[in-house]
């Protein structure tokens, strides 16, 4: 492999695209993909089309589709019943530990960007945030003035599910925290906008 990741050898174009699409949590357009792998857009388009054809030929359970200009993996229509049954069977009712933690951070830090939640949790939270959005527990809340990053807050559905009527009813964090001063330092260190600590700051959440 070339040391310059921006020049993926032709033979590796397809698997590189597969890798990118596998972790992308939303459709990716050809220009974005082309710049990520450092190949010309027409080559990327060809490669994507071939991949899609290959998956179909091999009867894979997923397909690669271009919807409204963006490419993304979808489950194949034929297997929708299996997926539906799986989704319906209740296994998915519970949130994963990662999702719960992310939700907790959003609840107490809102409005907050994904980057900030990632920094706090020490892991990338893109996928988990998407899950929380899908589940209707979290919603977008504008953009950060300085960075332009999307901000997120909890929803009324979240309040309903956790059993309170407003954010003010969430327990104070202070008793659970070792030392709040340290925390402030930490936040300065983490950069980004000044912390919006007040729990009641989003009136409509």
């Amino acid at each position: 492999m070339s040391e310059d990741v921006l020049e993926v050898a032709v033979a590796e174009l397809r698997p590189s695209l597969e890798a990118l699409l596998m972790i992308a949590d939303q459709p990716l357009d050809e220009t974005t993909l082309a710049s990520a792998v450092g190949a010309p857009v027409p080559d990327v388009t060809t490669a994507l089309t071939e991949l899609a054809r290959e998956y179909a030929e091999q009867g894979r359970g997923f397909e690669l589709r271009n919807v409204a200009g963006g490419w993304r993996y979808y489950t194949r229509e034929e297997f929708a019943p299996v997926v539906e049954a799986f989704v319906l069977d209740g296994q998915q009712a519970r949130l994963t530990q990662a999702a719960l933690e992310t939700l907790a951070v959003v609840a107490y830090k809102q409005p907050v960007s994904r980057a900030r939640v990632s920094a706090i949790r020490g892991v990338n939270v893109d996928g988990v945030m998407r899950t929380l959005l899908t589940r209707g527990l979290v919603e977008e809340a504008g953009e950060d003035h300085s960075t332009g990053a999307h901000l997120y807050r909890t929803t009324t559905y979240f309040l309903e599910r956790i059993g309170v009527t407003s954010l003010d009813e969430l327990p104070e964090l202070a008793p659970y925290l070792p030392d709040l001063d340290d925390l402030d330092d930490l936040e300065d260190e983490l950069g980004g906008s000044p912390a919006v600590v007040a729990t009641g700051s989003t009136e409509d959440a």
Binding site: I23, V87, T147, L170
Partner: protein, 306 residues
């Protein structure tokens, strides 16, 4: 390491502000040794030796030199090094005696102490080796990114009601734990503010007491030490006195009570004539010099007195 701060709006396209780890991503890899066993092992392997009694003797002086150079380590670390140093010195001094059968309790205790040290060294080496295996696996694994993608929209509507499943208190606890400042790896700054303690002064005090009483336990010698640093200084002072051949150590069981015997002259002058090196440790800048191994080579040569 790819690092983008939260305020850096790079990559605002499709994946938006995906950024980085928390502050704990910036862990420092100290060149210091991970404790006395680590130091011993590196000294032994530096000389391409196997773990034997002879190799222990060969590295004893170097080990002691490192302990001295490490006077600005944090106190706990220093004391753990001193424990091993005392065993090494015991062993080395025992070898100077005519080799023979095990004569008394003391010899037996020394053999036990030696075996214990060997066993602990070997054990530590084993864990160090598997730690390397873990590191290899961790770094290999970090190159693979799992698919963590939310459910397709078409199925989202089918999802059952979310079950948060934990109470409000537990929920707040989760948030608190996530928001808790992450402990940096133990780069202790304690010693920077520790008052300087002169090893020479402590040596004089210790020597004077021993000369009068003949034998004292280390515990008793340190009974009036106001802090750990002073205890460490007294221990270092004892090592110095040992080098000057005016004290001997007795330790009945490994990690047991250490008693110190005065073997020097009986008059008070014996004490005042002692040559005790002062330790650089006193008001030194923080953070020990990062490369203690090679630079100490020359010092070692001068220290062949032990």
């Amino acid at each position: 390491m790819t690092v983008a701060t939260a305020s850096d709006p790079r990559g605002t396209e499709a994946l938006t502000e995906t950024t980085t780890e928390g502050t704990h991503a910036f862990e420092v890899r100290l060149d210091n040794f991970e404790g006395p066993f680590d130091l011993l092992l590196s000294l032994i392997s530096k000389h391409k030796l196997d773990i034997t009694e002879v190799s222990l003797h060969q590295v004893t002086d170097e080990f002691i030199a490192h302990v001295k150079a490490g006077a600005s380590w944090d106190l706990e670390q220093t004391s753990s090094f001193l424990l091993v140093a005392s065993t090494l010195l015991d062993l080395k001094s025992a070898r100077l005696l005519p080799q023979g059968e095990i004569e008394d309790e003391e010899d037996l205790a020394l053999l036990e102490a030696r075996d214990l040290l060997f066993a602990r060294l070997l054990q530590y080496r084993a864990f160090k080796q598997v730690a390397a295996v873990l590191e290899h696996r961790l770094s290999g694994e970090a190159l693979r990114h799992p698919r963590v993608v939310g459910l397709e929209e078409r199925y989202a509507g089918l999802l059952p009601e979310v079950l948060i499943g934990i109470g409000l208190e537990a929920f707040a606890g989760l948030a608190a734990r996530a928001l808790e400042p992450k402990p940096e790896l133990e780069v202790s700054l304690q010693h920077i503010h520790a008052p300087a303690v002169s090893v020479r002064e402590q040596a004089e005090l210790v020597a004077e007491r021993l000369r009068r009483t003949g034998t004292m336990t280390f515990r008793a010698l340190c009974g009036d030490a106001p802090d750990t640093l002073t205890r460490v200084a007294r221990f270092l002072a004892l090592l110095e006195l040992f080098r000057e051949n005016v004290v001997a150590f007795d330790q009945v069981s490994p990690l047991g009570e250490l008693s110190v015997r005065w073997t020097g002259g009986a008059d008070a002058e014996a004490v005042s004539e002692l040559r005790i090196d002062e330790f650089e440790g006193a008001p030194e800048p923080p953070r020990a010099e990062p490369t203690d191994v090679p630079t100490d080579e020359t010092e070692d040569a001068e220290e062949e007195t032990g």
